[in-house]
């Protein structure tokens, strides 16, 4: 049924329909509304789950690790500092091959303290082994959470999945969302059953030590699984389309890419702005296009090369930065495109929107102007020069 919903409310509603047995979270802006809603649903007995109140995000992540280790579908959500406090456990959840689903309401990282949106939080744990999705809209956020459980719990995968939704822009933004019914979700997402769990009747140790004779193989297997996930994500997206009639998820999505000469690459809500800017640039006779990254880990290199390998210039829009290097997405894109050798499109990296600075169509036009100039690894767009004067 189509409803006018706040992003957080929509995520809570779809998580309810995914029927997790264990939920644990610690409130942090801008994630709070999601877990407030879920706590209410559990208290009102609308959702039969244990909601475990904890004293920190480290504990929240540990609780869902434990829930999932006993074979129970589990859920948590966080943002920013919360994700960083979870970091140790985030790596463990992936290393132990536990298909937790977490929503990250993306927010910048301190200092200076700032509660607004960028992608620095997720960028900081991108190497943990989680499958990483980015949602552009509240509808996509809803759809990706259903697919997240399907993919993570697939016996071929057994990895945690993080659905990234831009803080405030989605979490506190109202949009029309086609919310599936419980029956529809049950049909798409069957109950989670696994033999990989802690069980008092069949005692075993989870979380053993792996010395140098074993460790590298465990890491290799996670990496190989990520490569398999590149095939499984489109498979699940196709199944989703069959079940719900709309295209949602997948590895990447393109907009006006067929003959595009200048391609913008982004993830999350910025893609909506870019889409509008592309239309405006096209009206101006410029052959612009958009490549939207839905799946950031595993990084869909082959799909990207097929989509934009023939572009002349590529502008990678990063909402996070590896300080002293470049934007993380730019680094991934460059590595992928460099495999084309001499045919590599001129690829430039731009940093926009840190700490919630608005990314407007004007910002995208400015990026477009710089794109046709000299190649650049890391150019900030929209800096206020008057704030940069040193004291």
């Amino acid at each position: 049924m189509k409803e006018f919903l706040e992003g957080s409310h929509a995520v809570a509603q779809i998580i309810k329909r995914c029927r997790p047995g264990v939920i644990s979270a610690y409130p942090i802006t801008p994630q709070t509304h999601i877990v407030e809603d879920l706590a209410q649903l559990v208290a009102d007995k609308e959702l039969d789950a244990q909601f475990v109140n904890v004293e920190s995000e480290h504990s929240a992540a540990s609780v869902v690790l434990g829930g999932e280790a006993t074979g129970v579908r589990s859920y948590t959500a966080t943002s920013s500092q919360g994700l960083l406090l979870m970091a140790e456990v985030v790596f463990n959840i992936a290393g132990l091959r536990l298909p937790v689903v977490m929503t990250t309401a993306n927010r910048s990282v301190s200092a200076p303290i700032n509660i607004w949106n960028d992608h620095q939080d997720v960028a900081t744990v991108r190497d943990a082994g989680w499958i990483l999705f980015f949602a552009e809209s509240n509808q996509e956020a809803v759809d990706l959470h259903m697919q997240a459980y399907r993919i993570g719990e697939d016996p071929r995968v057994m990895l945690p999945v993080m659905v990234n939704i831009d803080g405030f822009i989605l979490t506190h933004g109202m949009e029309v969302v086609d919310m599936p019914t419980q029956e529809e979700v049950d049909k798409f997402l069957p109950p989670y059953t696994t033999t990989y769990k802690l069980d008092v009747d069949n005692p075993q140790t989870m979380g053993f030590l792996a010395d140098p004779e074993y460790y590298i193989e465990m890491r290799y297997m996670i990496d190989q699984t990520h490569r398999d996930v590149l095939k499984i994500v489109p498979e699940v997206a196709a199944g989703f389309k069959k079940a719900f009639g709309r295209e949602s998820g997948g590895l990447i999505q393109g907009y006006r890419l067929e003959d595009a000469e200048q391609v913008f690459v982004g993830a999350g809500t910025v893609c909506g702005t870019i889409r509008e800017a592309v239309d405006a640039l096209r009206k101006d006779g410029k052959k612009a296009g958009l490549l939207k990254i839905v799946t950031y880990r595993p990084f869909p290199k082959d799909a990207i090369l097929a989509a934009v390998g023939k572009a002349k210039e590529i502008a990678v829009i990063d909402k996070s930065i590896s300080l002293g290097s470049s934007g993380p997405l730019y680094l991934d894109m460059s590595a992928a495109l460099a495999t084309l050798g001499a045919k590599m499109p001129k690829t430039s990296g731009f940093i926009l929107g840190l700490g919630g600075r608005d990314i407007t169509q004007k910002s995208i036009f400015e990026t477009h102007e710089k794109l046709t100039g000299k190649q650049t690894d890391c150019t900030f767009i929209g800096l206020k020069q008057e704030l940069l004067a040193e004291t």
Binding site: G95, L96, R97, P155, R156, V157, M158, T195, Y196, P203, Q204, T205, M206, G207, F208, M218, Y220, M221, I222, Q224, T225, D228
Partner: protein
């Protein structure tokens, strides 16, 4: 690619960690023991066993030679001796 990240319960006994012991080991003198079991309770490896008086001993295949048993024994009936000495 997925394998259960688990091991059988109790499988750590397969690793004979007593070889980590470098200098000293406990010698249970079995003279003044009152079977208070303090040595067994304090042992961080849980490898001291015995029933009645003067029956307590440890499994040297896992003992690290920490000396807690000798330190807590109220009758001074456990002595730490050189690794080179015979028991």
């Amino acid at each position: 690619m997925f394998k259960h990240m688990t091991s059988k319960a109790g499988s750590s006994v397969e690793n004979k960690t007593g070889s980590w012991r470098t200098e000293v080991k406990p010698k249970f003198l079995k003279k003044d023991c009152i079977a208070c079991r303090m040595c067994a309770y304090i042992c961080p490896e849980g490898i001291i066993s015995g029933e009645g008086k003067n029956t307590f001993t440890c499994d040297y295949a896992y003992c690290k030679g920490c000396g807690n048993c000798a330190a807590i024994c109220p009758k001074k009936d456990i002595e730490m001796i050189s690794e080179l000495e015979a028991l």
